[in-house]
């Protein structure tokens, strides 16, 4: 396999790029022109001269501590550090005078005298900047000698001169993924600065001064694991030596080749370099030129890839006649034949529409496209849906209705121009960590933050950031809060009339104004309902409307409600009325949960829409696909996931092909999902592991990981990123091949031999993708759709010259309370969310060392609510709703307000979705995960259901040894 050739310069330029007027100088006689404010070091690097350096790195502000980078500048005294010296017009720089060379050698000599010389056995051998610099400056000997009656003072020998060396500190290997070996530290403080500037966690400090200064994680008694460190890896990346080193490199050796690919966890879509020896993955490092992440990463993408080689992974296809039986391992041929016969048989017996598919937001665009094509073109019905149903379907509907495009309006870089950010129903530092870091960085630079969330999330207040306003609303009252903000903006005439007149339908705005002006929408009136203090809400609305570039970022706390779509429209209204659309630093930005939520929606996974969000009722669109596929497409919408399950329970839906999705764990009202699955006669699960849904499956088709296939993911900013085959599929086939096998066994004549051909078909049929192909992605790295003749370079920002639908549309957003209300029996409101180290239902992250941070789901409860119920920290509690009950441990915290409890849903043992109900968004049936009325009481362990469930799961996971 050919390595992906990196098209851009991957060198470390020493200091960050800046913008400014051109300045011309000469370096060693060569002329160079750079923006004003650039460092001399970077200017030299621009013309290929790398000045030796240790403490500088181009993702960190220059620090000027090592003095290795000294140069001579004509007309200036002394030898300034080139990393901290800005260029000036006409400057004449010399990088290699005998004076600076001598200084550099002296500096290196000092460093090396306090550094162990075990290079040959060091994990960073060949990948160490200290080594490189010793070479670069021509260091040939170290003249420091130990005094006669003792050892030389140093940090790296446990014993020196026969005595215990008090300066020596043992290695800290508490973090599961990297080690900290203080004996190799040169105290360049790159790690400390990376933790501050790039990650924004401030977990590291330099303790002590001079010779005594040491890097320290947390307080004096902390180690990395107990400190605030979130294991993002930025410090490890920044460290020039082996002091901070990936354990995988220590174990496996330095990698010799690398492939650029895309993280398969969250919707940020970070680019990574997968670094390997042969087909053994050694480490994943964030790719500097990745436009979503700009060289940063979080613990999931950086370290949590071990699931790909976990022993739980199923590598052979399996079948069984009934779910009471154990699994039988069979050949691919037999499994596919069995599945195809059953599905066709069901259609013969129960009708064309008795079977369907669920596509996955974790799979590639190409795979998703094929799965929906399987439904529409082979099953001959529109029964296709995606797990995006349960997360962001209201985004598609709401933004489609108001703006005319079912997607976020900005790129992530846009955050650098934001003045006021509203974060609503999202917890970026946990769920979208790299975006969270970029946002925090912007906030530290002065942008203001408004957080609308029932919980005091980390962005409300953490190291060096604090939200200007936190509106802790009662779960379920988003529409009331958003509408009240609009009320304030209209009431106080803070709207942008010129923008509205030019870009929106003025008459609709007038109607909307009449609606929103009504006093029932005033914050004073809604306070009782929402729990948000009126004055605080007014201030927040004023700040958003008048504070400069206003951007709204939102997450599942907006969409997963019975009025999810209405809230999305309300958010769009706010952006339009303040003119915050169509340029950098503003916009409406849904933070997508899974890596390819955007893509799976784009690819026509929804039952009513063909790829590109075009309704199946459209004759022209159908004709286009019909001619391409040679079939007739049903003009009526098919079933959505909840409808499929309902239809299964009532007996008309019998067979399901479910790719990369665990609906039993991730969908609401587990009892109902289980009943639906149990009623089906053929459930085909195509996944990496025997997930919870597979307990009810008849066919198991092993899946391939993102490391084992080619394709594309589309992230939350509409960026189409390449996923590259880093190693061959361990299960034998990439997922798109498996879908094709099934389609062919059911009579299709598909002949794809590479995913690029699928992308070509997508481009031919979908206007927003018209100019996308693999050759272009190879050349450019990534592109944001729409990418066609109108926007040949893609579209970093949408609605620049006008809304996609023409005029932006204001829609009236009346608050309609959910039927799910707390009452005497269920007095508390449960809301659900995620945490940093785990991902979604946890199928992947639970199978990595990430579990060290979160080995069970816990219930967050306010001290007041806990006290009334006699609940203490760590107690087992029973959580009950009208749907069901489960048990988990409680933790007492004021992150939640009284009356609200919170938990995550990463572990199947907890089964948080046993509790959630079948209520859903009015427009899209996106389930109302974020509000469930519950009661909490003490319990003494798992409930009867949890015990039964585990027994059933164990039974249904039995695998017979393969027949010889």
């Amino acid at each position: 396999m050919k390595d992906f050739i990196i098209p851009w310069d991957d060198r470390d330029m020493g200091t960050p790029a800046v913008e400014g007027a051109p300045v011309t100088l000469t370096v060693d006689g060569f002329e160079v022109t750079v923006p004003e404010g650039t460092s001399v070091m970077r200017a030299a690097a621009e013309i290929g001269m790398s000045i030796p350096k240790l403490c500088a790195s181009d993702n960190l502000e220059a620090f000027g501590s090592c003095r290795l980078c000294v140069v001579e500048i004509e007309g200036r005294r002394g030898t300034p550090a080139s990393c901290t010296t800005p260029v000036a017009e006409g400057m004449v720089v010399r990088t290699q005078s005998s004076k600076v060379k001598k200084i550099r050698r002296g500096v290196m000599e000092l460093y090396i005298s306090d550094h162990p010389l075990d290079c040959l056995t060091c994990a960073a051998n060949g990948d160490c900047e200290l080594q490189d610099m010793a070479g670069a400056v021509g260091l040939r000997d170290v003249r420091y000698e130990a005094p006669e009656n003792g050892g030389l003072a140093n940090h790296f020998e446990p014993r020196t001169g026969g005595e215990v060396n008090p300066e020596w500190i043992a290695k800290d290997d508490s973090n599961p993924y990297f080690t900290y070996d203080p004996s190799k530290c040169i105290v360049c403080s790159r790690c400390v600065r990376a933790c501050e500037e790039v990650q924004g966690t401030f977990a590291l400090t330099i303790e002590g001064r001079g010779f005594d200064s040491r890097v320290s994680a947390g307080g004096p008694l902390d180690e990395f694991l107990t400190s605030d460190c979130v294991s993002c890896g930025a410090c490890v990346q920044a460290c020039p030596t082996a002091t901070l080193q990936e354990k995988s490199v220590i174990e496996l050796g330095t990698p010799e080749r690398s492939v650029i690919t895309t993280c398969a966890y969250c919707g940020v879509g970070c680019s990574f370099k997968a670094e390997l020896n042969g087909d053994e993955l050694v480490r994943m490092t964030p790719y500097k030129h990745g436009e979503a992440n700009r060289g940063h990463s979080c613990v999931k993408g950086r370290f949590a890839y071990g699931y790909a080689s976990h022993s739980d992974r199923i590598l052979n296809p399996m079948i069984r006649d009934s779910i009471e039986e154990p699994w039988r391992e069979v050949s691919w041929e037999e499994a596919i034949g069995f599945a195809a016969d059953r599905m066709r048989g069901l259609q013969e017996r129960y009708g064309r529409k008795s079977i369907g598919v669920i596509t996955s937001s974790r799979c590639t665009n190409e795979e998703t496209y094929l799965v929906q094509k399987l439904a529409r073109g082979v099953f001959m019905n529109n029964n296709t849906d995606t797990c995006a149903r349960v997360c962001h379907s209201p985004t598609g509907y709401g933004l489609g209705q108001t703006f005319g495009a079912s997607a976020g309006t900005q790129n992530f870089d846009s955050v650098e121009k934001v003045d006021v950010a509203i974060i609503i129903g999202a917890n970026p530092t946990d769920a979208h960590p790299v975006f969270g870091s970029r946002l925090k960085r912007r906030v530290r630079a002065g942008a203001k933050l408004i957080v609308i969330d029932p919980r005091k999330t980390d962005v409300v207040r953490s190291a060096h950031i604090e939200a200007a306003h936190h509106l802790p609303l009662r779960p379920g009252t988003n529409v009331a809060v958003v509408t009240a903000m609009a009320h304030v903006i209209v009431d106080e005439k803070l709207y942008d009339e010129a923008f509205i007149r030019e870009r929106c339908d003025w008459n609709e705005f007038v109607e909307y104004m009449e609606f929103v002006q009504d006093v029932r929408h005033s914050p004073e009136m809604t306070e009782m309902l929402t729990g948000v203090p009126a004055e605080e809400l007014r201030k927040a609305a004023r700040l958003y409307a008048t504070g400069g570039n206003g951007a709204i970022y939102y997450g599942l706390g907006v969409t997963e409600h019975s009025q999810g779509s209405t809230t999305v429209m309300g958010i769009a209204n706010l952006a339009m009325m303040t003119g915050n659309i169509g340029r950098e630093g503003v916009g409406v930005n849904p933070l997508r949960g899974q890596n390819n939520v955007q893509g799976s929606c784009d690819m026509g996974s929804f039952p009513h829409e063909l790829p590109g969000y075009r309704h199946v009722k459209g004759d022209e669109v159908r004709a286009l696909f019909e001619s391409k596929w040679g079939v007739e497409i049903d003009p009526e919408p098919g079933l959505r996931i909840p409808n499929m399950l309902d239809a299964a329970v009532s007996g008309s839906f019998k067979g399901l092909y479910c790719q990369g999705e665990d609906i039993l764990q991730s969908d609401p009202d587990t009892h109902h999902v289980a009943a639906g699955l149990a009623a089906m006669e053929c459930v085909i699960v195509h996944d990496l592991f025997l997930n919870e849904t597979a307990n009810y499956a008849h066919v198991f088709l092993p899946g391939s990981t993102f490391l084992e296939k080619d394709g594309t993911f589309t992230n939350a900013e509409r960026r189409i990123n390449r996923v590259r085959e880093v190693m061959k599929p361990r299960n034998g086939y990439a997922d798109w091949e498996v879908t094709q096998l099934l389609a062919k066994a059911m009579g299709a004549d598909w002949t794809y031999t590479h995913p690029s051909q699928i992308m070509d078909e997508i481009a031919e049929t979908t206007p927003g993708f018209a100019n996308v192909d693999y050759a272009m992605l190879e050349e450019r790295g990534s592109v944001q759709w729409p990418c066609n003749d109108d926007a040949p370079d893609g579209s970093p920002i949408m609605h620049v010259d006008g809304f996609v639908r023409g005029k932006g549309r204001f829609i009236v957003t009346e608050y309609i309370p959910t039927d799910e209300r707390s009452g005497p029996r269920f007095p508390l409101l449960l809301t659900t969310g995620r945490i940093l180290s785990q991902y979604n239902v946890g199928a992947q992250t639970r199978r990595t060392e990430n579990s060290i941070w979160h080995d069970e789901d816990v219930l967050e409860i306010h001290p007041h609510d806990a006290e009334v119920r006699g609940v203490k920290e760590g107690d087992w509690v029973k959580l009950a709703s009208r749907s069901g009950e489960t048990s988990l441990r409680a933790t007492i915290t004021d992150k939640v307000v009284p009356g609200v409890v919170y938990t995550t849903f990463h572990h199947p043992d907890t089964q948080a979705n046993v509790i959630t109900t079948d209520f859903s968004d009015w427009a899209t049936n996106c389930p109302e995960y974020k509000v469930t009325a519950v009661q909490v009481g003490l319990s003494n362990g798992p409930t009867e259901w949890q015990r039964q469930y585990n027994a059933q799961a164990d039974r249904s996971r039995r695998i017979l040894p393969a027949a010889e």
Binding site: K353, N382, E511, F515, S562, T566, P607, H608, H615, K617, E636, P637, G638, L639, N643, D646, A647, V649, S650, S652, I811, V812, E814, I816, D819, D918, S920, W922, A923, T924, N925
Partner: protein, 67 residues
């Protein structure tokens, strides 16, 4: 599909459009149902309405002939 759920979903849709300005709310409810509900679900709703429409929101009742 359990009847009560179907009815709740239809009434929820009507709930939204009832708050919208203009005269054509029933048409818009019908359009939403036609666009997003499969024919089986629509047929079920119609059958239910024919039997007993007392638990349907007025707008859903008005929309029934249009779906």
């Amino acid at each position: 599909m359990p009847h009560d759920k179907l009815i709740r979903m239809a009434n929820q849709i009507a709930g939204f459009f009832a708050t919208q300005p203009g005269q054509n709310q029933a048409e818009r409810v019908a359009a939403h149902l036609n666009d997003f509900w499969g024919p089986e679900m629509r047929a079920e709703l119609k059958a239910h309405a024919a039997e007993d429409d007392s638990d349907l929101a007025p707008l859903v009742r008005d929309a029934i002939p249009l779906i």
